[in-house]
């Protein structure tokens, strides 16, 4: 199926990606051709097939809840773009 520019804009909003007009045009074309290719899957009847999300027969993995040293706050914050009073600072949310 072919993706419209409007649909590209909607998906970009979901993905929190700002796209320029050229990118919207290119992605509409490229994503359409990729989606056309993956539609090949519809050739296969899969009624009653159990989806396989994960190949390992592993379920919950537990460990003892012990107190262990963490990483010092200053080390973690050293990677932050903007910090104030030992906390991450971001532009206004509301």
């Amino acid at each position: 199926m072919a993706l419209t520019i409007k649909e590209v804009e909607y998906v970009a909003k979901l993905a929190r990606l700002q796209l320029n007009e050229d990118e919207k045009q290119i992605f509409a074309e490229q994503l359409s051709s990729i989606l056309k290719y993956v539609e090949k899957l519809n050739e296969l009847p899969t009624d009653g097939v159990e989806p396989l999300a994960h190949i390992l027969p592993v379920y919950n993995v537990f460990r003892a809840d012990e107190i262990r040293p963490g990483t010092p706050r200053e080390e973690i914050l050293a990677n932050a773009p903007l910090v104030e009073d030992g906390q991450y600072k971001v532009p206004k949310i509301m």
Partner: protein, 484 residues
């Protein structure tokens, strides 16, 4: 032979006989890197000073274990404490982790010496290392060709004798395809065999850590160190790790080897097919039983993979929002704009494309048609392999459809580039272990043979790969690079 040309086990022998030192080896490695990396461009970051200091300290202690005193390279997707880890992306260009990933950390705990961080396709999305945000890596066998990807820097560095071994990751072929293109040994272990803690995530149900080496013995040695349970990765399985080196006996008598007819189709270069067929004859000569099988859903693996992988990627990459680390756009007026603009500036085209595809496949109204459908097809693909492994020990195929292509040749068309992974993605979809080993040359470029085993059947891969290596000399060839 100079030190930088040797394998881990050769270096280890020299060290244990006190015929060389960690410092001499490390110096030899950096001399080599400075001589050839201007051309190959395998490294994003070099850690020379720390490596030399490390080597001196190890020599002072004078004890050499399995890899003590031996330098290594690490794909820039593994977090390394205090060493910049970029994932070849602008968005992480200045990111310095506060901890080591488990796999790299286990090598450091054995006193392996970090030589540097290796180039890759941004966020491991690509098959040529041309999607690195910084620069493409060149294939040491022919500098105008790609080294493969996404772990192209790791494969190229080992092939160019810049490091004896390197870590990589493989989500859809990112270890095996570059190993094939660069003529080295590359192993993607079973999903769950090696911890992924501290490895930057791409597609969590597919990603696996593995290794590049100059020969099969070295590959087994590294796997002995990095495999096994890690309390920090719940998907890393609590199963005993066999001594992989013990399976290197060269004996494949009676081993049942299957070759899937779907992996020998017209889309696969005939010279590549010929090289694999010759290798199969070699296995027969050595006493293995070789037979054709069918993996009937093979052609559906690639489209299903691109839905599963991109859906998971769109979720995994949501964390790059410019808040806690990474690139931030400071012009944005509010926080939502900051997310969108930071991500727009920080991600490259292929990463954006995959996030978009994945977000679409997961979006309301399309989830069943795309993502759920892909997971059902995934079951059929995994079942194909189970049926073959009920009767066979090993599956053999080409690793990639062609030898390494030219830089720039496929960059314009995402679908053509995705086709490179057609023989490797089914194995990730099924979570199986697979290895690429050199088995021939075409146009002066290496051809790789893919060995696929049942889940946790790495020992079988090592056994078969070692037997082939003992009876051929493809692994002994090295590219002739001009030394500057």
């Amino acid at each position: 032979m100079e030190l930088h040309q040797l394998t881990i086990h050769e270096l280890q022998e020299l060290l244990s006989r006190k015929e060389t030192s960690a410092l001499e080896i490390t110096q030899s490695i950096f001399t080599r890197i400075h001589a050839v990396d201007d051309q190959v461009r395998a490294f994003i970051t070099l850690t020379e000073e720390e490596a030399l200091a490390n080597a001196r300290e190890i020599d002072k202690q004078g004890e050499y274990g399995r890899i003590a005193g031996i330098p290594l390279g690490v794909k820039d997707i593994f977090c390394t404490r205090g060493v910049k880890t970029t994932c070849a992306s602008r968005i992480l260009e200045n990111f310095v982790p506060t901890y080591d990933s488990t796999a790299a950390g286990r090598l450091f705990a054995e006193k392996g010496i970090l030589a540097g961080k290796l180039n890759m396709d941004e966020f491991a999305m690509g098959s040529s290392t041309e999607q690195s945000a910084f620069f493409p890596t060149c294939n040491p066998w022919n500098l105008s060709r790609v080294p493969g990807g996404s772990s192209g820097g790791s494969a190229a560095a080992v092939a160019a004798d810049e490091v004896p071994f390197a870590l990589g990751t493989d989500t859809g072929g990112s270890i095996r395809q570059p190993a094939s293109f660069c003529g080295v040994v590359g192993l993607k272990p079973t999903y769950g065999r090696v911890s992924r803690w501290g490895v930057i995530a791409y597609a969590s149900s597919l990603d696996q850590v593995g290794t590049f080496a100059k020969d099969v013995r070295d590959c087994a040695l590294v796997m002995n160190i990095i495999s096994g349970k890690d309390p920090l990765d719940s998907t890393c399985v609590d199963l005993p790790v066999p001594d992989y080196s013990a399976s290197l006996d060269g004996n494949v008598k009676g081993m049942k080897i299957a070759y899937p007819r779907e992996y020998f189709q017209p889309g696969i270069d005939s010279h590549v097919q010929d090289a694999i067929k010759k290798a199969l004859l070699k296995y027969e000569e050595m006493g293995a039983v070789v037979d054709e099988v069918s993996l009937p859903h093979s052609e559906y693996a690639l489209p299903a993979y691109y839905l599963v992988a991109t859906a998971e990627a769109s979720a995994n990459l949501a964390r790059y929002d410019g808040v806690r680390y990474g690139l931030r756009d400071f012009e944005a007026a509010n926080v939502i704009d900051m997310f969108s603009r930071s991500r727009a500036e920080g991600f490259g085209a292929e990463v954006k494309r995959r996030i978009m595809l994945g977000s679409y496949a997961l979006s309301s109204g399309y989830y069943d048609a795309y993502y759920l459908k892909a997971l059902k097809v995934r079951r059929l693909i995994a079942d194909d392999f189970s049926k073959v492994f009920a009767n066979f020990d090993l599956i053999v195929s080409p690793t990639a459809p062609t030898v390494a292509f030219n830089i720039g040749e496929q960059i314009g068309d995402p679908l053509t580039l995705y086709m490179n992974d057609i023989l490797t993605v089914p194995i990730n979809m099924a979570g199986l272990p697979a290895m690429s080993i050199p088995c021939g040359f075409h146009e002066g470029m290496p051809v790789g043979m893919q060995l696929i085993g049942p889940a946790f059947g790495e020992s079988t891969l090592f056994k078969a790969a070692f037997a082939f290596e003992q009876n051929t000399d493809f692994h002994t060839f090295r590219p002739a690079l001009e030394v500057k």
